[in-house]
Amino acid sequence: MTKNKYVVAVVDDDPRLLESLEELLESAGYAVRSFSSAAALTRAGLSGLDLLITDVGMPGLNGFELRDLVNQERPELPVFLITGRHEIAEQIRARAVESFFCKPFDGQALLAAIARALTQQGRGR
């Protein structure tokens, strides 16, 4: 089971969010790697990661920049963005992006979206 565990990386500058997401993902059976910034993630590298969840508003590289960066290195890696800014969220949502969540987000919906993303990836693999 452990071997089969998907590895989800979470990047947020708010430790409380990191903790709560780690808790939620672990409760769903995912292995979680938490990073307090984009820089921390890039230092650790993307290998072994099956999915990335990142906050948008962060010091240093923000969530979009991090996603673009990750897309260059691992285009197949699903990237989920979460934000507390509703105006940003509305903009994104207008483009019908499913991998985008507003704080406070629905935990069940998040988990379902992650599962869907990982399934598609697995099929593609």
Binding site: L24, E26, S27, G57, L111
Partner: protein, 976 residues
């Protein structure tokens, strides 16, 4: 009888006429008419005779003609009349030769006598000596002598021998040898007059002889005896007085003449003279003294005639008087002449005395003899005052001392040389003054050229002299004036020939006075012709020609060449001098050198034009006003802008200023403009104001007007000069800018609020998101199989922690709006109020609204946060303005006053009012289409934090009032 009839022709004619008519009547034929006709032929002379002949010829011709033309009775009568006329003509022819001859002879004698006073003998010689009857010769001689001596014509009858030897009576008229200027009657003697001679001469033979000698000389003489009894009197004398010797000697009383008795001759003496004559004669008869006397004698004609009578006695050998002889001469002529002369002299004297001239005469030696009455009256002089002690002329009292020497020298020379005397001097007047007098004298000389008398006349020429002097002075003055006057004066004849230029004009043209070959007019005309500028010449001459013909005044400007060749502009004017009939006598003209003036005017005009152009081209509206503000000038641009002239808004009952202001200033701005303009006019302070100005098309445009006083050296305001910029675009731009700013500010406000809310949301969202995620995780841990309680426990702890974190966020937001009282200072509320008003002014103006601020005097300073209170005021003012926005006009009134322990401030608008006065203070409550609705909430918070209250009330009838109070005494709200 016949002689008497012959001497009186009218009587003869009358008698003939009477007899003729009687013959006609008795005989029944007109033959009787021949008698008066014959008498007429005998006496008629000259014109009458010619008329008589003419009448006869006409009658004869008429009768013959009638006889030829008419038959029957008329022919018979005519034949009879023709015969009568023919017979009458024959009688006339028979009578005519004699009287005609006589008349011519007598006339010739008369002429001879007049020409030769000494030729009486010749007189008689002209009548053939032998032709006069010897008896009549003495009488003719006596008559001639008497006429000669007395000057009285003598008519004497004498007999003239006819060629046939018979004598015929005829008359001689002896004229005196000279003419007299008085009328005297001729003395007539006839041969048939009565005269007598004494029967006996007695002792008077000698006296009679003497008398006859005298008679031969004088024509008349007489003699009487020692007792006065006439023994001889010349017959002609007896005839003249119609007294014969008997009549003369007739004793009329008992006494003899010599004894005082009256005798006949005394009846022939004038009653006034008779006693004297008789008395002196008696005396002479007694004493033998010669008798010389003049008295009036009665003539046969009935007239008294003056006679001069002389008688001398004759004596015998013993010296006894034997008789007297004497003569009497008719001196009536002399008496009458004397009287006439006296009358004439008197008349002359009166003439001399009454002519308005001062006449005098003096002797050849220069001694005054006569002064006429006028000279004495006028000068007050008398013969005595003009004579020196030796009788010579002295003018000392007569003329002014300044002229003594001159007058005496002139006088002395004239007397010495006989040259006429003519001098003008100041002569003394009776009133004590001196007047200019011209005195002329000329000598009257005798035939030898010796001066007999000097006759002089003095004429008062004072008025003439003073007038002349005055006239001369005037003339000099006028000449000087004409030459000095700094203009050119000239004169033209009616035909346009110049006949006078004044000195300046002559000098200007450089006319040479010395050239005498040409007349002055020609020289002037030639000089003028070349002096007029060629470009002006045709115009000038045409105008002059036109004026000369029409007589209208002439006025022109032209250039004239000065003697140095420089052309100068002239202003020439001329007007005709007219006589009473309107004919032109002369043209008088003046040319004024206006060259300098023209240049100055030109420069001025250019300068003015340049200034005007400057003013008119300046992109501004310019105007000027009198010190009282009345508009006196507007630039063209301003005039065009307003669309009416300076005086167009004048009306009864208001000044031009008021009328103009009311016409051009927007009604909303008018009170302010009036107040501030009035203030400037009253104080002289510059005026600056932005207001709306009515354009000609009725649209109001925003302008900025600035006016300042122009003062003279004394500091008095002479004029107000103003400039007016159209700032409509600027205001519009400003409004647009303000709108943009406002929009921006709103946006910024909205943005900042959005940001704030976003950041609040973020702050809240973070822990909230964590809580939510943890809650889901917890749920999963609890629902997993087996439930992971440990993890759930840990998750719940995190949930609690994050939820608290979210609550903290809310607390921090609250803390954000919490006020501090650290910025509070003592501030005067009115200052803050005015600041706020000024901040909002622009916005009010843009909204066409006004803000009125009224602050009660003596308000205390308050301890407050100046910025916050200002924010509150700005907030309330803006709310008020916005509330009035739909009306687009109105006045927002801000009033601050003391209310007990508080200072109360009211902001009153005239908007729609508020529906729920309390609700408006709730956060996010807004009646406006945009805005967060936070303003009033924050304001209330601020006011309350200062210990005051903020509330709203509705106004009646409309609008709302926001009221806030602040504690008057510094009482910081430390509780908050």
């Amino acid at each position: 009888m016949i002689a008497a009839l012959h001497r009186t022709p009218p009587a003869m004619i009358f008698v003939m006429l009477a007899l003729g008519l009687a013959a006609c009547w008795s005989a029944g034929t007109p033959i009787g008419i021949l008698a008066p006709l014959g008498a007429l032929f005998l006496y008629a002379r000259g014109y009458w005779l010619l008329s008589l002949w003419g009448g006869l010829l006409v009658a004869l011709a008429g009768a013959v003609l009638a006889a030829m033309l008419y038959p029957g009775a008329i022919r018979d009568a005519s034949r009879s009349l023709a015969a009568l006329a023919t017979v009458a003509g024959c009688i006339g022819l028979l009578l005519a030769p004699y009287p005609l001859r006589r008349s011519s002879r007598l006339a010739a004698m008369g002429r001879q006598a007049a020409g030769q006073p000494d030729g009486l003998a010749g007189d008689m010689d002209s009548v053939p000596e032998g032709a006069v009857h010897p008896d009549d010769r003495p009488a003719i001689a006596h008559a001639a002598a008497y006429a000669f001596w007395t000057g009285v014509p003598q008519v004497t009858s004498y007999r003239l021998r006819e060629p046939d030897g018979s004598y015929r009576w005829t008359e001689l008229r002896a004229e005196p040898g000279y003419g007299v200027s008085v009328d005297v009657d001729a003395m007539v003697s006839r041969p048939d007059d009565r005269w007598t001679v004494a029967e006996s001469l007695g002792e008077t033979v000698q006296a009679v002889q003497a008398a006859k000698v005298i008679e031969s000389l004088h024509g008349k003489a007489w003699a009487f005896d020692a007792i006065g009894k006439f023994t001889y009197v010349t017959p002609a004398a007896q005839i003249a007085i119609d007294m014969a010797l008997e009549d003369l000697n007739r004793r009329l009383g008992e006494r003899e003449f010599i004894d005082g008795g009256e005798v006949g001759w005394m009846r022939g003496v004038h009653p006034d003279d008779v006693d004297g004559a008789a008395a002196t004669l008696r005396h002479c008869l007694k004493t033998g003294e010669p008798w010389n006397i003049e008295y009036r004698m009665l003539r046969a004609t009935g007239h008294y005639v003056w006679h001069r009578i002389s008688a001398r006695p004759t004596r015998d050998g013993e010296g006894r008087i034997t008789g007297w002889f004497g003569t009497s001469i008719d001196i009536d002529v002399y008496k009458k002449t004397e009287a006439a002369l006296r009358e004439r002299e008197k008349h002359l004297e009166q003439l001399i005395d009454t002519v308005p001239a001062m006449i005098w005469s003096m002797s050849a030696e220069g001694r005054p003899i006569y002064l006429n009455r006028r000279i004495m009256e006028v000068t007050g002089a008398t013969l005595d005052t003009v004579k020196a002690s030796d009788g010579s002329l002295s003018l000392k009292k007569m003329i002014h001392p300044n002229f003594w020497e001159l007058a005496e020298k002139t006088f002395a020379r004239s007397v010495a040389t006989g040259a006429p005397y003519d001098i003008k001097y100041l002569q003394h007047r009776a009133g004590g003054t001196y007047r200019w007098t011209q005195t002329r004298a000329e000598p009257l000389c005798d035939e030898a050229g010796k001066i007999i008398r000097w006759y002089g006349v003095s004429v008062d020429i004072h008025d003439l002299i003073t007038t002349q002097t005055e006239l001369n002075l005037r003339k000099q003055e006028l000449t000087r004036l004409i030459d000095l006057v700094p203009s050119f004066l000239w004169r033209l004849t009616p035909t346009g020939a110049p006949n006078f230029f004044n000195r300046r004009f002559i000098d200007f043209l450089g006319i040479d006075d010395g050239d005498l070959e040409q007349s002055r007019t020609e020289r002037y005309a030639a000089a003028l012709k070349v002096a007029i500028h060629p470009d002006d010449a045709s115009r000038v001459w045409a105008e002059i020609k036109d004026c000369l013909s029409s007589g209208r005044p002439y006025a022109m400007r032209y250039r004239l060449r000065r003697h140095d060749g420089v052309y100068r502009w002239m202003d020439g004017r001329a007007e005709p001098l007219l006589d009473d009939d309107g004919g032109i006598i002369q043209w008088y003209g003046l040319s004024h050198d206006i060259d300098d003036q023209l240049r100055v005017e030109e420069a001025l005009r250019e300068s003015e034009q340049s200034l005007r152009q400057l003013v008119e081209t300046l992109p501004a509206l310019i105007y000027c006003a009198a010190p009282n503000g009345e508009p006196i000038y507007r630039s063209e641009k301003l005039g065009e802008f307003l669309g009416f002239g300076l005086g167009d808004k004048d009306a009864e009952g208001r000044t031009r200023l008021t009328g103009t202001l009311e016409a051009i200033i927007h009604p909303d701005d008018l009170p302010d403009v009036k107040e501030r303009y009035g203030h400037s006019l009253a104080t002289g302070a510059p005026y600056a104001m932005k207001h709306r100005l009515r354009r000609a098309d009725g649209e109001y445009r925003w302008v900025e007007t600035r006016t300042a006083a122009m003062k003279n050296a004394e500091g008095e305001i002479v004029q107000w000069n103003g400039i007016c910029f159209e700032i409509e675009d600027q205001v519009r731009a400003q409004e647009a800018l303000t709108l943009t700013q406002e929009r921006l500010a709103r946006a910024a406000q909205a943005a900042s609020l959005a940001e704030l809310s976003a950041s609040i949301a973020h702050e809240v969202n973070q822990p909230l998101a964590a809580v939510v995620a943890n809650s889901h995780a917890c749920q999963r841990w609890l629902t997993s199989d087996p439930p992971n309680l440990e993890r759930a426990q840990k998750t719940i702890e995190r949930i609690i922690r994050d939820a608290n974190s979210a609550a903290d966020v809310v607390g921090r937001v609250r803390a954000l709006f919490r006020q501090t009282d650290q910025a509070r200072n003592l501030c005067p509320l009115d200052a803050i109020l005015h600041e706020a008003r000024d901040l909002m002014m622009e916005e009010a103006v843009r909204r066409r609204m006004r803000i009125e601020v009224e602050v009660e005097a003596g308000l205390p300073s308050l301890e407050l946060d100046r910025i916050q209170i200002q924010q509150v005021l700005v907030n309330l003012i803006r709310n008020g303005l916005e509330a009035m926005e739909p009306a687009r006009r109105g006045v927002l009134r801000v009033r601050t006053l003391r209310a007990g322990e508080f200072v109360r401030t009211e902001v009153r608008d005239t908007g729609a009012g508020i529906g729920a006065p309390d609700k408006v203070f709730e956060p996010f409550f807004s009646t406006k289409s945009h805005g967060m609705g936070m303003g009033l909430a924050i304001s209330r918070t601020i006011i309350e934090s200062h210990g005051g209250r903020l509330w709203a009330e509705d106004n009646q009838p409309s609008g709302a009032t926001f009221i806030f109070t602040l504690p008057a005494e510094a009482k910081a709200d430390h509780d908050r």
